[in-house]
Symmetry: C2
Subunit: 429 residues, 2 copies
Amino acid sequence: MKGYREMTKEELIKECEALTKRYEDFKALNLTLDMTRGKPAPLQLDLSNDIYDTLKDGFKTSKNEDTRNYGIAPGIDEIREIFADILGTDKENIFTGNSSSLNQMFDTIMRSMVFGEVDSPKPWAQVEGRKWLCPAPGYDRHFRVTETLGFELIPVPMNEDGPDMDVVEELVKDENVKGIWCVPCYSNPDGVVYSEEVCNRLAKMETKAPDFRIFWDNAYVVHHLTEDRSLWGSLPDMLSLCESYGNANRVYEFASTSKITFAGAGISCFAANKDNMNWAKKYLNTQAICTNKVNQLAHVRFLPNKEAVLEHMMKHAAILRPKFEACHSVLNEELGFDNLWHWTDPKGGYFVSFYAYPGTATKIVSMCKEAGVALTPAGASFPYGKDPSDSNIRLAPSFPVVEDIEKAVRILSICAKITAVEKMLEELA
Amino acid sequence: MKGYREMTKEELIKECEALTKRYEDFKALNLTLDMTRGKPAPLQLDLSNDIYDTLKDGFKTSKNEDTRNYGIAPGIDEIREIFADILGTDKENIFTGNSSSLNQMFDTIMRSMVFGEVDSPKPWAQVEGRKWLCPAPGYDRHFRVTETLGFELIPVPMNEDGPDMDVVEELVKDENVKGIWCVPCYSNPDGVVYSEEVCNRLAKMETKAPDFRIFWDNAYVVHHLTEDRSLWGSLPDMLSLCESYGNANRVYEFASTSKITFAGAGISCFAANKDNMNWAKKYLNTQAICTNKVNQLAHVRFLPNKEAVLEHMMKHAAILRPKFEACHSVLNEELGFDNLWHWTDPKGGYFVSFYAYPGTATKIVSMCKEAGVALTPAGASFPYGKDPSDSNIRLAPSFPVVEDIEKAVRILSICAKITAVEKMLEELA
């Protein structure tokens, strides 16, 4: 098949009619499909259904601590050890919390707002014109946190190996730039794994703000999609790396079990160096006596070490792979004939990032909605929801079944083609 | 036996020698007893050991929602209904969270610090000289929250029916006074139940600050110590009461299951009127996607309604009563001969509040420590840890076994007598 750029006006009109017919046929089916959020599928959740059975062996830790009672604010040692092992750091650097790492990130910046960081000239709430770097496309909920907290969101282009460091190094010369969002492994939504060079430059760069912070959201650190370990994303221990460059306080790292066991009943953690940890603990120990330790115990009994976690993640991968494959197969089949668009083929994480013909993403999403396919709003992966190219659409294939993914991605593809053809016709007119 | 005030100097010296002998004998036993914190005893925790067995019936709510996955930020309806029923309010006014209500209170004030309340002239962090009312004696962790957040702590005397409202009504004429801590049912540590009059005056009073807030920590709302329902503390629904006086936004109410099921794996909630709730949700929905819903489901299956909770609490009471009785019996036996001291006989909650001869509490606690009895530091129940009378000592009899309570309270009583006698001798000198 010819590419659209090679088609005549008449051919484009004919193509548009054929596509519109297909689109209307799909609409007539009254579908309800949802590709919006990176939610685990029921089959994935089923993998952990036995987790609470482990409590049959009682509620004591290996050190004979009663998880049912108050105390042990940073979390039981066993769970801190597993998180430390996964993140490549020391147990002492880990503080565990309830539920989501998003909660931990929000709370961490809230503390900075009110109390400042250990090396802050003043609390961040008092910094007029405070700014935050947002590698984009990125995670909409990250951006919402810093937007809500009054930061100006500064977009940074994403390259194939992480944020554009030339841009970052320039931007951090502004003392009002207080931090940067990073999803270093299988980034949301592009699936990028940061290169060693990017990690090094982030750790090493000179920042004007003495209290600049990297929020290293390692949300997908063990969320590989392939069994081939040589293809797994891997990263340096960012805490040590920052320390080695004399910037020991620069990074907070975050992770959680949300997409390992239960998204609705997870355990989160943050990792920090000694100074940041002591600073945080001053306030964490005022905020709460402890988090849910029984849940921690159930987790460590169910997945007692890093290797057990990795094996468990391969069961997730086995469920997820056919979904990503379905997504790719329909995209190839429908859109492979032209290079007006492109999409990612991540080795881990939860998303396929689709780049439509520039200027069409918003229209595609609204056409899909009319046909019963819910997609993340176009631009959602950009600061303020504004994709300057109106091109990126984040596809989340984890939750729906393969058959639904095929239908949804086919409708998306048809809409991508219709809108592209319409654009071309406009340009010809 | 004669009261100390009626004794001659010689009699007092003799008494002191006898008491010192008893004290030294106890010291020789090298005891390690802990009466510091209101922790449930293992036997109490055992009452809920089967809670997670209820998950054998699957992870779906009655509305077929999957608690294992993301979503339902305010908590599942079933748990909100139970909390609403217990607090005498509507389900829509309830937002549930993880772990402790302390966490909810801290977060609520953090939001006010950064964003202000819905009716605030400005965020509280920008209010120089902000103040908070602290009925005292009260809960040390409450005081620590507002102290950490830069509020001046203003003590308010506690009467037998709640805070001294004449004092409160005067103090709230200061626009920098932004709120008040209240534990309205079985207050920590005095076991006071607020009277209807106190509740009404709190709801009705005119406050200079338009964004004045009552933090109504209903920590012990179902924590009765007696089976006789006519003796149970009961309170008006503070949300309605405030609304009825035209102060609908005045109150946040808090509660948790920490001392109902597991202190280390509880569910907390806050209750708020529509305006406060909508305001809070703006930020709560940025902070987290949801809290631990599987734990919520286990809780509602284990204790499906208010009556089930009340029955469960009677099992706690059966375990706690002998401990409170042991405490009282030793106090009566050792100290009943004189009225230099007094103590509370609460109908619920977790504490016996002991009032030593003024000026002796610090010494008593340090003598007890030397004899292996850990007590809450004297003054801990007062703002900044300063009891102006140096008299109050909070006793927490829930955790130790009866035999240990008897020993600990006997040692406390001996120390109370020694220090009192010493004071009298000083006064005679």
